[in-house]
Each structure stands twice: as structure tokens, then as C-alpha cells.
């Protein structure tokens, strides 16, 4: 990390002089005109980014961070405008530029990388032409531009740029596409590079690679970076200074390490407490949450904008807007009570009376030799291969793996939405379970329910909350009339919603409330097992914490088993008792959560764990996976992971023989040729290391 700090850091203080700043945003207001009303999305935001500095803007959805990004490029949508303040890049006022100067700003001075690489590239033009176009706009001839494009792709560590240039965007992976977008953004050596959630749509392993790449290129090119993300850990890793946005206002600013280690604004404090970091598990107690909701856009701003959700707020906070106080060392905070912020009272009680799990809890569901082969275009794609797994009463089994590893297929096969291959076995309480949901009886239907990832898709948008939950209770619990009405009210209260919500439709609810409706529906018939398929990945961290708390509470009350799927290892780690790791449809490792995460573990698990960016924890040596996930239609011979394994054996056995899944310790199974003692030695030798060493070995 130390290697990433640029030299000009001393210029970074907000009192710094003008010419050294790449970007100065001064008392900026942005409003959107929506249905005839002006709604303020950015309110009086000021900050500056020095040349060569990396500045992070962090905030939840609705905080206005993306609005700020497009405002810098003067690319606000038609109904948006800057209503006050100024933006200048390299000392030039962006708002006063004429057409030609604006074009110049966008093509040469400011570059942008968006969240979804797939949508940033034109699907009908080959990659090479698209990258070359950037150089052509800058005035190069076509042949020269193509050469420069190839050089640029090499620079973003694409190993075979020639072949990538001949491909169309849909023929390359998401990670590769994001490298291409980064290459295009850096092609003209911009004065300011804006990265708007550049890794949010990517897998953790790919995210780690892209972040390393951006960090390395920054050191090499000395670019100035405005990094926007909802992910505090990513910001902590990538940025020198950070600004925290809340409801369009900058509430805190300072050096990234300081802000995250010693936050002084109650919002920052709350945000950090919402994240299950540092190996926090549910045995440690509930997560803290931020009560209440983000103010609706355009709401009157009287007093401190955060006061309605702040446990420290007093009458002064509610009537008087707190000024930005300078705490020295570049720390700014807009709060009357910044000295007390660290002792912000918790909004949820910690105590969580976890049940002692009996030594051998009953097995509720058993999957035996479960396989699923899809047939597409004459190819057999093995999505799941020979999975043996047990789900026990009252436990949470976390299911992790990169996208394409078969997590969701496994869940859908278990639920009976996808038929597995014919020799697979699914048992419920020791009895066979039909593979097709239509052939399952009511008791079996009741037993297995799901909470989907995206509540917008999971809830019928034309039905009211009462109807959505009521239908589930009627079909699964067999209730009707007054009993049905009572049960629906019980369920709504169980997920901490109010009766008035029953009349609303999903579009009238926030994301967190929608997910609560989906949870209430899943619990409509007293389920035995609830599959949670990325239930919090579409939510903000403060909402995520509340949903995780709710899931834990419901589990305790109902003795339900969770199959919890998530790409966020911290969330899985918080909730899970056991963890199963999937790679290319194979079970690579399964065991108690703390052992699977802390090791000794499978080299693939090791890579997954080390790719998670963290805040203020001891940094392990980062294990990076090279290359792409192989195609499931044509998996590697031998151990399927050998093509990317950093610990592949020299003997060649990994390339030829597929290792069996063996029990390396009681309840801990692993599929690896390296024996557990060697793994323990190898992994203990390298972690943890001091940050400086970690960075230099990179």
C-alpha cells in the first residue's frame, strides 16, 4: 500500500493552492427537475483533489456520488443542472466551457470508467477498433492508432492483446472488458480519471485483479483519480483521501486511513459498524444498523441532514445546520458532536442468544451424487458434478464461489425448479424428494422456500404486499379467512414492518422493505429450509446489516436451516456455521466456517479469502488467481482448478488426476492433492505479513 502513495500528498490539504489541484469542486449544488419540482441531489459540496492524488467518494445509493461524477464531465441528464457553485479541472472552469473546449475536456482531460464494462463497450464493434478510436479522436492516423491501442492493452496486462483486439465485446469476460475500458480511459493520459463503481459488477477475485491493476497504473502514470464506490473497503485500499457523502452532502473528509480508523461523523461510524468485517461472526452478536431512511430527494433541509437517524442528535442538530469543522491534519467533519461520535450508542442490542448446536444435529436434507448437465448447442455443460452435501437442522450453510461456479444452479435443483441428472439423489428427512417441484406434496413445498437476490424480480409488481404474503400463507399453511389475516399480520410484524405496508405495492417500498416482504413470504408456511440467494447483494450496507440481523433472529425463533449463497465472503462468514466452496460445479471444500476461512484451506478458498479488500486488518499476502475461469463445457483435465492454482504441485499429478474429496479433519472435507499438513505449513508461512512487505511482494 505504501508504494501507492504519491509524492504530492502534502498538497492534498484543502487549504492547498489552486494550480496544484486537478479538480476543485466549490459549493456545488445540482438539482433535478422531476415532475415539475426541483430536487436537490447535491447540496453545497466542496472538495479538491491534488495532482497525482487518489480521492475516494463513498456513500450509499441516493447519496449523489454518481451525479457528482457526471457533473464533473458536464454530462448531467436533460432534467439536471448545476444550480450553484463551480467545478474546475486544472484550473479551468468546466461550467463556462464552450462546445469545442468541452469536447476537448471529455476526450483528453477527464476520463471515466463506469460500473458495467459490458455496457461501456459497443457490442457491434471489435475491441481493437474501439480502443484505437480513442487515439484517432486525439489526432493519430489509423495504423498508428491501432499500434498504440495494442500497446495500451499490453499495459493493462492483457496477455494476448492481438487476439483480444479482434474479438467483439461479448466474446471477452467481464474482467477483461473492464481492463479494456481502463485502457481506453487511460489512453490519452488524462489529468483526471473518474472510476464510478468500477468493480461492483465483478467477482471478488476479478475485482482484486482490477484494483491491483489500477493501483499499479496510477503509480506508473501518476494519474489523478476520483474513485467512487459504496464499498468502504475498496476505497480504503485505493485512496489517499476520502470524502463521505450522505444525501448529497459531504459530511466528513480526511486521509483514508484516519477516517476509517477514527471516524468522527456519526454516519461514518454507523456505516463502518454495519459491515461484518474483521472476521465478525454471528456468535459475536448482532450487527449495528443505522435506523430510519435516507431523506427523500428534494426534502427540506433544516438542521443537520443526518439528525433524524442520529442517536447523538439534540435540538440544536435539528434546527441548525452544522458547519464544516476543521480538526487539523486534513480532517473535516460537519457535526456538532464529532468529539462524541466514536461513542455513538448502538441502535440494535448486541446480545444474541445463539443456541448451542447439539453434537450431531438431525440431517434435514441430503444431496447425493447430485449432477446437472445442460445441453446447449450440441455441447454438454456440466454445471454441477457429483455434489454430496448435508444440511442440518438450524444451521447455516454458506455456499461460495465465483460466478459460474454453480451456486445458483445448486439452489434451484434443490428447490425443484431445475431437474438434476437422473442418478442424483435429493432426500428430505431421509425420504426421497421429487426432483420436480410440481410433483412435491404440500408438506414438501412448505419445507423448502427461497429468498431471491433481486426483490424487484421476486415480487409481483401488480400485487399488494397483503396479497403476496397472503397467497403464500393460503397455499402453504392452508389458512383462510380470519386465521389467514392474523397470520399475515404476524409475519409482517416478524419482519419488523408495519400493518400499513400491507396495502402498498412493491414499487412503493424501499429495497430493504421489499426484501423483508420476500422474507415474510418465504416464512409463510413455517419452512424447514430457506435458500437465501444473495439476499443482500442488491442492498446498501446499512440495510444489509438489518436484513442479516433479521435472518439470524428468524433462524433462532423458527429453528430454520439456511442455505446462504453470497459472493460477499464477509457476509457469508458472519452468518454461516459451515461453508461449502464450489468451483466449476465441483465441491472443493466443505467444513466449519471459521476453519474454512482461516485455514488451512484449499488453495482456491485461500485465493477467494485473500481477494476480499478489508479495512484496517492485518494484511495477508495476496494470492492472486491468474487467468480466466475455464469453460464448464470443456473443464481442465485432472484437478479442475490446476490452471489457476498458485500452489500447483511440480509432480504433474494436478494436471492428470482429479483429487477426491477427502475428510482432512472431523467435518472438514477438501479436494486437493496437497495434504493438509503441507497446506498448513505453506499458508502459515506467508500470513500475516506487515503491509509494506505485502505490497512489495505483489
Amino acid at each position: 500500500m505504501t508504494a501507492l502513495t504519491p509524492g504530492q500528498r502534502s498538497d492534498a490539504s484543502p487549504e492547498g493552492t489552486g494550480p496544484s489541484d486537478a479538480l476543485v469542486v466549490d459549493h456545488l449544488d445540482v438539482t433535478y427537475r422531476v415532475r415539475g419540482h426541483d430536487r436537490r441531489a447535491i447540496a453545497d459540496v466542496s472538495f479538491r483533489i491534488a495532482r497525482g492524488e487518489s480521492y475516494g467518494l463513498v456513500g450509499e445509493s441516493g447519496s449523489g456520488k454518481s451525479t457528482l461524477a457526471v457533473a464533473v464531465e458536464r454530462y448531467l441528464p436533460r432534467n439536471g443542472r448545476v444550480s450553484a457553485g463551480s467545478i474546475s479541472v486544472n484550473g479551468r472552469d468546466v461550467l463556462g466551457l464552450d462546445g469545442d473546449a468541452l469536447r476537448d475536456l471529455r476526450s483528453k482531460t477527464v476520463s471515466m470508467v463506469y460500473q458495467e464494462p459490458g455496457r461501456a463497450l459497443n457490442p457491434s464493434i471489435r475491441v481493437g477498433r474501439q480502443v484505437a478510436e480513442v487515439f484517432e479522436v486525439a489526432g493519430l492516423r489509423r495504423s498508428e492508432a491501432l499500434e498504440r491501442a495494442e500497446a495500451m492493452l499490453t499495459k493493462v496486462q492483457i496477455s494476448d492483446p492481438g487476439s483480444v483486439m479482434r474479438r467483439y465485446p461479448h466474446q471477452i469476460s467481464g474482467g477483461m472488458a473492464q481492463r479494456v475500458v481502463v485502457a481506453m480511459a487511460l489512453a490519452t493520459d488524462p489529468s483526471l480519471l473518474i472510476l464510478d463503481e468500477p468493480t461492483t459488477a465483478l467477482d471478488a477475485t476479478v475485482e482484486a485483479e482490477i484494483l491491483d491493476l489500477v493501483a499499479a497504473l496510477r503509480t506508473e502514470l501518476g494519474s489523478t483519480v476520483l474513485f467512487i464506490s459504496h464499498n468502504l473497503a475498496v476505497i480504503a485500499k485505493m485512496c489517499d483521501r476520502v470524502g463521505v457523502l450522505y444525501a448529497g452532502e459531504l459530511v466528513e473528509e480526511g486521509p483514508a486511513g484516519d477516517v476509517f480508523d477514527h471516524p468522527r461523523h456519526p454516519y461514518t461510524v454507523g456505516l463502518l459498524r454495519c459491515i461484518p468485517h474483521g472476521g465478525l461472526r454471528k456468535d459475536h452478536g448482532r450487527l449495528d444498523t443505522i435506523p430510519g431512511f435516507l431523506p427523500s430527494p428534494g426534502a427540506a433541509r433544516v438542521g443537520c441532514i443526518f439528525a433524524p437517524r442520529c442517536a447523538l442528535a439534540d435540538d440544536r442538530c435539528r434546527s441548525e445546520s452544522p458547519p464544516m469543522s476543521n480538526l487539523g491534519d486534513g480532517r473535516l467533519v460537519s457535526c456538532f458532536h464529532h468529539d462524541k461520535a466514536a461513542d455513538l450508542p448502538r441502535s440494535t442490542p448486541v446480545e444474541l442468544a445463539l443456541l448451542e448446536h447439539p453434537q450431531a444435529p438431525d440431517v434435514v436434507v441430503r444431496l447425493g451424487a447430485l449432477s446437472k448437465t445442460f445441453h446447449a448447442h450440441g455441447e454438454d455443460v456440466k454445471a454441477l458434478v457429483d455434489i454430496d452435501l448435508e444440511l442440518r437442522r438450524g444451521e447455516t450453510l454458506g455456499l461460495v464461489g465465483e460466478s459460474g461456479s454453480g451456486k445458483t444452479t445448486l439452489a434451484r435443483v434443490l428447490l425443484g425448479l431445475i431437474a438434476p441428472d437422473s442418478d442424483s439423489v435429493i432426500e428430505l428427512d431421509g425420504g426421497p424428494l421429487a426432483s420436480d417441484v410440481r410433483k412435491r406434496g404440500r408438506e414438501q413445498l412448505k419445507a423448502l422456500q427461497i429468498v431471491f437476490q433481486n426483490p424487484d424480480s421476486a415480487l409481483n409488481r401488480r400485487h399488494s404486499v397483503r396479497r403476496i404474503i397472503g397467497r403464500s400463507v393460503r397455499k402453504l399453511a392452508g389458512l383462510s379467512g380470519e386465521a389467514l389475516r392474523q397470520r399475515v399480520i404476524e409475519l409482517v410484524e416478524a419482519v419488523r414492518m408495519e400493518q400499513r405496508h400491507l396495502l402498498l405495492r412493491p414499487s412503493q417500498l424501499s429495497g430493504g422493505l421489499k426484501q423483508r416482504v420476500a422474507i415474510a413470504r418465504a416464512f409463510g408456511g413455517e419452512p424447514r429450509i430457506v435458500v437465501c440467494d444473495e439476499p443482500t447483494s442488491a442492498l446498501d450496507v446499512s440495510v444489509q446489516a438489518a436484513i442479516l440481523n433479521l435472518l439470524v433472529d428468524l433462524q433462532l425463533a423458527e429453528q430454520v436451516t439456511y442455505l446462504f449463497i453470497s459472493h460477499d465472503l464477509r457476509v457469508v462468514g458472519y452468518l454461516s456455521d459451515r461453508i461449502a466452496v464450489l468451483y466449476l460445479g465441483r465441491l472443493m471444500e466443505v467444513g466449519p466456517a471459521d476453519i474454512v476461512f482461516s485455514g488451512p484451506h484449499h488453495p482456491y478458498t485461500e485465493a477467494l479469502v485473500s481477494s476480499v479488500p478489508s479495512i484496517g486488518e492485518d494484511r495477508r499476502t495476496r494470492i492472486r488467481l491468474s487467468g480466466e475461469i475455464p469453460s464448464a463445457a470443456n473443464p481442465p483435465v485432472g484437478c479442475v482448478f490446476h490452471t489457476r492454482c498458485p500452489r500447483r504441485l511440480e509432480t504433474g499429478v494436478c494436471e492428470t488426476v482429479e483429487p477426491p474429496l477427502v475428510e482432512v479433519a472431523p467435518g472438514h472435507l477438501m479436494r486437493c492433492h496437497i495434504d493438509i499438513d503441507s497446506l498448513r505449513r505453506l499458508q502459515a508461512a506467508e500470513a500475516p505479513l506487515p503491509p509494506a512487505v505485502a505490497a512489495s511482494t505483489d
Binding site: 458536464r74 448531467l76 397467497r471 403464500s472 412503493q508
Partner: protein, 299 residues
């Protein structure tokens, strides 16, 4: 106060801005309010309303009996006595145009309604079940679509004999495949959404999922298709009655009146022009409405 619109599209790229856009929930009432604010819709609705009044109260509004033959004033020029003139049998053209709205509107609307109901059921079945059902029904639908609409209608009407119910049934059946195709496409998208999986997981029947879960979510494209189809239906009815397959004479009918008088068009132009204008104005009115409905629902 600097206007910063450098972008022509009103589309906002990021989630937070989308949230701003959809801050107000679209309920049926706001759809109405938006329609009532659209000039296109108002013009279309005004013309349509005029013809609906004619269709209902035609006989009391019409200045003359549309069937009465005044043999002393055949082929009379438009004048104070006969605003639109008279035809070869001395019947008042204005009265025939007013009363003629009745049958064409009844037939066009009922036929489209029939076609929409049939097409919606077909489309739901094809889209929801997919696979073999979709393949078999889909081929049948495509076969029907490949046949020229007018020729099929003519054959059916000749076989069944021209009458109002026959026209309704024939046009309805001919339209059903077209509407089925639109509904199927919409259902294909809905079917993949998780609320359908959730319904299957609680044991809901296919019938329930199709009609209670999916149907309300595909009503917008169905409504648009319905309004567009009414325009086509009016045209089809007019064409068929021009060909002599409409309501039997002497019923006042725009298509039949054009057909009866177009051989003398160079001498007595009013006998063809006014029924033709009536058809045109009605089709344009319906299309204006369809356009505005589509643009409101597409938002």
C-alpha cells in the same frame, strides 16, 4: 443558473438517479392524467367521441331517413337541403354517413375484442409453456399469418354468408395470431422473473400463474395492441363491405356506399368523398389514441 443539458436523452444512467425519476408511482390514475394532458390523445378522443355519438344516436341526429329514396332528387349536389348531397337513389348522404358509423364501430370493436381475448390466451400459453407447445402453436400461428388477410376473410365470409356476427368472428380469428405474437414476447420476459418461480414453489397451478400472476404484468402491451388493432379492424371492415361482404344492403355502410357510387365518381364526387372521409377520420382518430397510449405506457 447554468443550463447544462448537453445530452439529448432524458435517461439517467445510475440507480440513484433512476430512483429520483420513479419517485412517483405510476398508478392508473396518473396514466389517465398523462393521457388527458396529451394533445394527440385529445384530438383523437374528440373525433372518436363524435363517431360514437353518431353510432348510438344516429337515427335521431340524422336530418333525413337514411333509407328513404327521394327519386325526384337523385344525385343532388350538396346544398342547404342536403348538406352532403344525395346518392343515385336520392338518399341523403349525410344521414347515411352518420348512421353508417354504427355497424362499422360495433364490428371493429367486437372483432378486436374477440381477437385480443383469443390472442392473449394463445400468447400466454405459448409464452408460459414454451418448448413443444410453443413450437406447435407457434407454427400454426405463423401459417395463419402467412395467408393474405383479405383473401382468408373473403373465403370465410363467402362460406358463412355475410352478416354482422360472421364479420366479427372472421376478423377476430384473423387478428388473434397477431396479438398472440405480441403477448407471447411479453410473457417470455415475465416468465423468467423470480415471482413466477416463487409461485411455483408454493404449488400454484399453471393456470393461476398465467392468469393471476403474469397477465396483470403484460396488460400494457396488450392494451397498446388492442388500440392499434381497432384502427386496422375499421379498415378491414370498410374493405370487406366495399367488396360487398359487409352488412347486406340497404343498411347504411361507408364501404358499401363507396362501392355503390364510385363508378360515377367523376360526376357525383360527393357520393364517394364523404363516406371515404368518414373512414379516414375514424382510422386516424384511433391511431392518434393508440400512439398516445403507447407513449404513456412505455414510460
Amino acid at each position: 443558473m447554468i443550463p447544462l443539458s448537453e445530452r439529448s436523452d432524458p435517461i439517467i444512467p445510475t440507480a440513484e438517479l433512476r430512483a429520483l425519476e420513479t419517485a412517483g408511482v405510476q398508478s392508473p390514475r396518473t396514466v389517465w392524467q398523462q393521457l388527458l394532458r396529451s394533445p394527440t390523445f385529445l384530438v383523437g378522443a374528440f373525433i372518436l367521441l363524435f363517431w360514437i355519438v353518431c353510432a348510438i344516436f344516429g337515427n335521431s341526429i340524422a336530418p333525413d331517413d337514411p333509407l328513404a329514396q327521394q327519386l325526384l332528387s337523385v344525385n343532388a349536389h350538396p346544398s342547404g337541403a342536403h348538406l352532403f348531397g344525395t346518392d343515385q337513389l336520392g338518399r341523403d348522404v349525410l344521414s347515411r354517413v352518420i348512421v353508417g358509423a354504427h355497424d362499422i364501430l360495433i364490428i371493429a370493436v367486437s372483432a378486436t375484442l374477440l381477437g385480443t381475448v383469443l390472442g392473449t390466451v394463445l400468447g400466454l400459453v405459448m409464452g408460459y409453456f414454451g418448448g413443444a407447445v410453443d413450437a406447435i402453436v407457434g407454427r400454426l400461428v405463423e401459417t395463419l399469418l402467412a395467408l393474405p388477410l383479405i383473401i382468408v376473410s373473403v373465403l370465410f365470409i363467402l362460406a358463412l354468408g355475410p352478416s354482422v356476427p360472421t364479420l366479427v368472428i372472421v376478423i377476430g380469428f384473423v387478428f388473434a395470431p397477431l396479438i398472440a405474437r405480441t403477448v407471447r414476447a411479453a410473457v417470455l420476459g415475465e416468465r423468467e422473473l423470480d415471482y413466477v418461480a416463487a409461485a411455483r414453489l408454493r404449488g400454484d397451478s399453471s393456470l393461476h400463474i398465467m392468469f393471476v400472476e403474469i397477465l396483470p404484468n403484460v396488460l400494457s402491451p396488450i392494451l397498446v395492441e388492442f388500440t392499434v388493432r381497432i384502427g386496422y379492424a375499421i379498415f378491414t371492415v370498410a374493405t370487406l363491405s366495399f367488396l360487398g361482404l359487409g352488412p347486406p344492403p340497404p343498411t347504411p355502410d361507408w364501404g358499401a356506399d363507396i362501392s355503390a357510387n364510385y363508378d360515377v365518381i367523376s360526376l357525383y364526387w360527393w357520393e364517394t368523398l364523404f363516406p371515404a372521409l368518414a373512414i379516414a377520420s375514424l382510422v386516424i382518430a384511433v391511431n392518434l389514441i393508440a400512439d398516445s397510449v403507447e407513449s404513456v405506457l412505455a414510460q
